[in-house]
Symmetry: C2
Subunit: 323 residues, 2 copies
């Protein structure tokens, strides 16, 4: 639910003058995404999404994000494509913010993911990992495991406002995860935020992936762990092992896990839950007056974290031996 | 900025099964409108807007609103058209709310209206008034002048929280306006909410009108007065008489004012400012925790109200003798 920046008629006219995509026929703010301002922009030249990058996105990362979209598409991963200005730039400026125009992707994101959706996501994630292997740019994971302790430090003194005892449990958990975090696993470009609202479907077939603004270099299996958290829990927080099995099996048909990845999966899933718990906690404690966005409940990921801590081995996620 | 109700995949599938418009290819919440939940719905059959009517809309009024759209379009006013279900109904139900699907209208609403925009709106408003003349259904103006005192009573004891002295001044002003309100003027179906975000343009030409959910039967000149308030003030609250003149002249080329309408215009403009002041004040004092919508500043309309009180006669709005 996000339109943080107003775009005036003059702003839009000035922007479109840089491009060869005609004149606007529709311009509507989109009530999705929590990091940037997004607009449906239809012109005489086609359908596009205009994104204004708000303060949370570091403008120096934009060449990585936009270059990655082109790299992935050239290797068969369906994702929005940056539209370049007449002088060949993928980045412009609108209302004082970095901005880009990308192609519009057909599809509907699943509000209630099914087993079939989870399988499609597993396959698409593996294809993304394979396709990103030879992408030249690198971007460290700014929200990787080493960032968690400093991020938590910003909220530690107020964590118990959300739930008594939350602060000490998170602190202990961060230390425990850190101590066991794998030194090395197969890695490369990961999406790092492949939640249902970033995956489009036409019917039951996956039609594309969007929102690569957390993409970075990290372990592939950590990206899988993020998806287990994002797709395989039911609204009552129960873990649906059928969905997990479908996701993991589909992933491995494209890119089989190494033994070390399989062994690390429960820990990586704990870490993934911690990462979203921490950013949600941070945002929850800092809702500005008159906020346009209802912050997401951090406790959802606290419950997921506790679930993963109870998992003894990867087979509990439905992970079976690869053929 | 409004999506109040979540629509699940099953909700959408059940809804579309009632219609002959194919399967969804895009479904996105739109960050516009403050009364209802609106979604861009693209299907294999075309582009549509799905609206879920939230509690502020009385479901018994929906036949008036939807019938009016059809009536106006048949008379050349470009506005969204209700799409009927296979069994001929313009109304359906989604997630427990009345809902309708209407055709998608191309166009961009002007964030910074120009003199040219104001002229186009004046002409379109007059055409709307003429086209609505033979619409069979009636709907009283639920926010008409008789509603203001009871509406204000709900906020009177807290009005001074917004600005000291606001309460007594509003009370006196309502009494003064009520005492002078015309008993009779030419009337019929009015839009009653024709703000810039409800008027689409392609380039400088008006391409359509949307959001008829305040439409009702009232004085035509009151609708003009609402537009003077909504279109002819600058961001610094100064009144732009060039814009007003362009709007009024264009209106009168289609539907000339009677002498009584001209005489009443300053009072009607005060009343129109009061109407929006009161609803904004009401909403301002009742922002729910975690609100998705930033309420609009009531004092904007308080300043407009004071301006209109200073107006001696309609010629101050740039209204010239009709030919």
């Amino acid at each position: 639910m996000a339109v943080y920046t107003e775009v005036t008629d003059d702003d839009l006219a000035r922007l479109l003058a840089l491009y060869d995509i005609g004149t606007p026929t529709t311009f509507k703010g989109i009530a999705e995404g929590v990091e940037n301002s997004n607009f449906l922009l239809q012109t005489t030249g086609g359908r596009f999404i205009l994104t204004l990058y708000e303060k949370r996105v570091d403008a120096r990362d934009l060449p990585f994000f936009l270059g990655l979209l082109e790299h992935l598409a050239a290797r068969g991963v369906t994702c929005p494509q940056p539209v370049c200005t007449r002088d060949g730039r993928a980045l412009a400026e609108v209302a004082g913010r970095p901005a880009s125009i990308v192609t519009f992707l057909d599809g509907v994101w699943p509000r209630r993911p099914t087993v079939r959706h989870c399988a499609e996501v597993g396959e698409a994630l593996a294809r993304l990992h394979v396709a990103g292997a030879d992408f030249a740019l690198k971007r460290p994971n700014a929200l990787g495991h080493r960032a968690w302790a400093p991020l938590f430090a910003q909220s530690a003194d107020r964590a118990d406002e959300v739930q008594p005892g939350l602060g000490p449990e998170i602190a202990a958990e961060i230390a425990a995860i850190e101590a066991e975090w794998p030194a090395d696993l197969p890695g490369g470009v990961i999406h790092a935020d492949l939640f249902p609202d970033n995956v489009f479907f036409l019917g039951e077939r996956l039609s594309g992936l969007i929102d690569f603004y957390f993409a970075c270099n990290d372990f592939f299996a950590y990206d899988v762990a993020i998806c287990l958290n994002a797709w395989c829990f039911e609204p009552d927080f129960s873990f649906n092992v059928t969905k997990a099995r479908a996701m993991l099996a589909a992933y491995q048909r494209v890119r089989p896990f190494e033994a070390a990845e399989t062994a690390a999966l429960p820990l990586l899933a704990r870490g993934a839950a911690m990462r979203f718990l921490l950013t949600r906690l941070h945002d929850w404690l800092r809702v500005p007056p008159g906020a346009l966005v209802v912050p997401k409940d951090p406790l959802e990921y606290f419950r997921k974290l506790r679930f993963h801590r109870s998992v003894a081995e990867a087979s509990d996620y439905g992970l079976t031996e690869t053929a």
